[in-house]
């Protein structure tokens, strides 16, 4: 088997908050192949962005290892490390803040091309800029090159951010809430563009969102990972996870989401949590950190032992003592 493009091996990241350590990302492991999609979902503060930044090399892990194209990135030479940093590009949430307002779209895209010596002549530079604009569906590209960011709509600006991240020919995109800020009416077309890029350029994508329906749609052929308080609690093929959630947290989450259909949404039964209080990372519950809220809470085991993410033969993986017990026969032995 060839090694995956990216592999996280027991990665954790701590921060100092009020003179105390918090674990924003706690023992997360997964791998992603070329052209694969993984959507990270979970509530605010569960560690999605931190995970994304670690992958993009913008934050270093406090412990654990990251392999990119089979190499441990902590052992890379300076040149190799630069290549890795360029190879993994991050698209940020806010299409307003992330573009330099004094540069034209042409300059925004030409600057990294020239800086990284990816083009030799002015002609080549211009051609590349035009083809990048076309790639992100800003057509005809000639209409856009001379414009400034404030002359574009939010959706168009986000397309420019995507085009800019593509200037350096990455093999991996981290898209952090990349469509959340744009209007519903244009979200889908932006997602389509990302999907096409993935197919056309063979990009792998880590797509971060708090919207599970959006995740199901974008990761249709890929996987969804659900995080809770820094840990990955479920990681499964996308439609499967939404149709057959196994972790009690995933089940609660899915049951709580309203649907854009009055019949469906009014018939939906939401599962009740045992407590509405979200624990603070400063005072994490013992054992499974979901246990104080878990509708399936089963006592001692849940309170005392942290369940580890366990893979099953059907391709799903869940970190829950009860699920593990229910499905003993299906566990893939490591």
């Amino acid at each position: 088997m060839t090694s995956p493009l990216l592999e996280l091996n027991h990665v954790s990241r701590t921060f100092m908050v009020k003179k105390q350590q918090i674990k924003a990302v706690d023992d997360v492991s997964f791998s992603l192949g070329t052209g694969e999609v993984l959507c990270l979902v979970g509530e605010s503060g569960c560690g999605k962005t931190t995970t994304g930044k670690i992958i993009a090399g913008l934050l270093s892990p406090s412990s654990g290892k990251i392999f990119f194209k089979g190499n441990d990135i902590s052992t890379l030479s300076k040149d190799q490390h630069n290549a890795y940093r360029l190879g993994v590009q991050m698209i940020h949430q806010d299409p307003y803040a992330s573009l330099n307002p004094t540069q034209t779209i042409f300059e925004i895209l030409a600057t990294p091309l020239r800086y990284h010596k990816l083009v030799k002549t002015d002609k080549e530079c211009r051609d590349r800029v035009l083809s990048l604009l076309e790639l992100v569906d800003l057509t005809p590209p000639d209409d856009f090159v001379e414009k400034y960011p404030h002359q574009l709509s939010g959706g168009q600006r986000q397309r420019v951010s995507i085009a800019r991240s593509l200037t350096v020919n990455p093999s991996f995109l981290v898209a952090d809430e990349a469509v959340s800020m744009v209007d519903v009416s244009i979200r889908i077309s932006l997602l389509r563009t990302l999907s096409h890029l993935k197919d056309e350029l063979g990009l792998s994508v880590l797509f971060i969102t708090h919207d599970l329906a959006l995740a199901k749609y974008f990761a249709w052929d890929g996987r969804i990972g659900v995080m809770y308080l820094g840990r990955m609690v479920e990681l499964s093929p996308a439609p499967f996870l939404v149709d057959h959630p196994q972790h009690p947290y995933t089940q609660v989450l899915l049951s709580a989401i309203p649907e854009a259909d009055p019949d469906i949404t009014r018939k939906k039964q939401s599962l009740q949590l045992r407590s509405m209080d979200v624990p603070s990372l400063l005072r994490l519950p013992s054992g499974c950190s979901f246990h104080p809220r878990c509708p399936r809470f089963a006592g001692q085991l849940c309170q005392e032992q942290i369940p580890s993410l366990t893979s099953f033969y059907d391709g799903s993986a869940v970190a829950c003592h009860l699920v593990m017990d229910d499905r003993k026969k299906d566990v893939i032995k490591a």
Partner: protein
């Protein structure tokens, strides 16, 4: 307090007629609200849906008299009616109120929970003081009576009243603060409440909790609700009636089941198909081409025509009015009769 039977025959709590509101901006006039008319009946919830900048908040601000100085109401009428014991006891022409009267009107007749209001609390005041402030501005409850009423409504929004009463805003989570705001809006028993994106900044589980609270309140109390949201699913769950707002104008209005199941305006149809659902299939999703209009430099004719696959010459030159096409179902589109069929064929090709 259940909705009294006789109340359903009363005229609407609020009737808005031909309301237009502009803002003065550097580049020119922003036509934020254009000739909008709608009513909300007793105990009814009306959702305003539509994308960012379509004018939803401006409508709400107009009703409670809180538009900024740069805004100008060009035309229109807002009539609010208070009911008691099965009859209308007061009819208020909101746009004719003087500043003193509009302050009385706010909270007491109509309360608004603002978009992004989570940070609206005065950080140095305890929740009890925030309630006292609102009450005393209206010479309403004080002392024990205030505490009793507050405890009652804080319970209704599922908060631990004793704990919350003594707390400072920063000691409460976002979801708790939002529920306090909802409770506060109920304090003086207004008959109309406007909620502007009440769950937008909140997590799924907190949002669910707030939605359940709102549904409870609607069941147990007798107020009319204008619910502003860009999130269709919230409207689907909570509203009786839905209005789609596009470029400052209501382009479709109807009963929630009708609008979601049998929409006629190409924009409503597009919006519904653009929102991914958990149950949906990948193929069902389509996007609306183009982007929302510039409200200063508005397209001619129907404002949706540059994005509409059905647009012809008439659409490009004449703006359609909201027209009644079925019981309580109004649509502003020249092509409404064939819109759904044509769009289906369009999608298939």
């Amino acid at each position: 307090m259940m909705l009294a039977q006789q109340e359903t025959n009363l005229p609407p709590t609020i009737s808005i007629k031909n309301l237009s509101i502009d803002y003065k901006a550097k580049r020119g006039q922003v036509q934020a609200v254009r000739n909008i008319s709608f009513e909300v009946d007793r105990g009814e919830a009306m959702a305003l849906i539509g994308e960012s900048g379509s004018g939803k908040t401006t409508i709400g601000l107009g009703v409670v008299g809180l538009l900024p100085p740069t805004a100008k109401i060009r035309q229109g009428e807002i009539i609010y009616r208070r009911a008691a014991d099965g009859k209308i006891v007061d009819e208020i022409d909101v746009l004719k109120l003087n500043p003193q009267q509009i302050r009385q009107f706010r909270w007491k007749e109509c309360a608004m929970v603002f978009q992004g209001a989570l940070n609206a609390f005065n950080p140095v005041l305890r929740i009890s003081d925030q309630f006292a402030d609102t009450a005393s501005a209206h010479n309403a409850l004080r002392g024990m009576a205030l505490k009793e009423r507050a405890t009652e409504i804080l319970h209704m929004v599922r908060l631990d009243a004793d704990r919350v009463w003594r707390s400072y805003p920063h000691e409460l989570s976002g979801g708790m603060r939002q529920r306090v705001l909802i409770a506060l809006s109920l304090l003086l028993e207004p008959q109309l409440i406007i909620m502007d994106e009440p769950t937008t900044a909140l997590d799924v589980l907190t949002q669910r909790n707030i939605m359940d609270v709102l549904k409870d309140l609607r069941k147990n109390l007798n107020f009319s609700l204008i619910f502003i949201s860009h999130d269709l699913s919230l409207a689907a769950e909570l509203a009786d009636k839905v209005s789609t707002v596009y470029a400052g104008k209501i382009v479709e209005l109807g009963d929630v089941y009708t609008v979601f199941r049998n929409p006629y305006h190409p924009y409503t149809i597009g919006l519904i198909h653009a929102v991914p659902t958990l149950a949906g299939r990948k193929e069902d999703l389509t996007s609306i081409p183009g982007s929302p209009p510039d409200l200063i430099n508005m397209p001619t004719g129907c404002k949706f025509h540059p994005r509409c696959p059905l647009a012809d010459d008439q659409c490009k030159t004449q703006e359609p009015d909201l027209e009644e096409i079925g019981k309580g179902h109004r649509v502003a589109c020249w092509k409404w009769q064939t819109a759904r069929e044509t769009l289906k064929r369009f999608k298939a090709s």
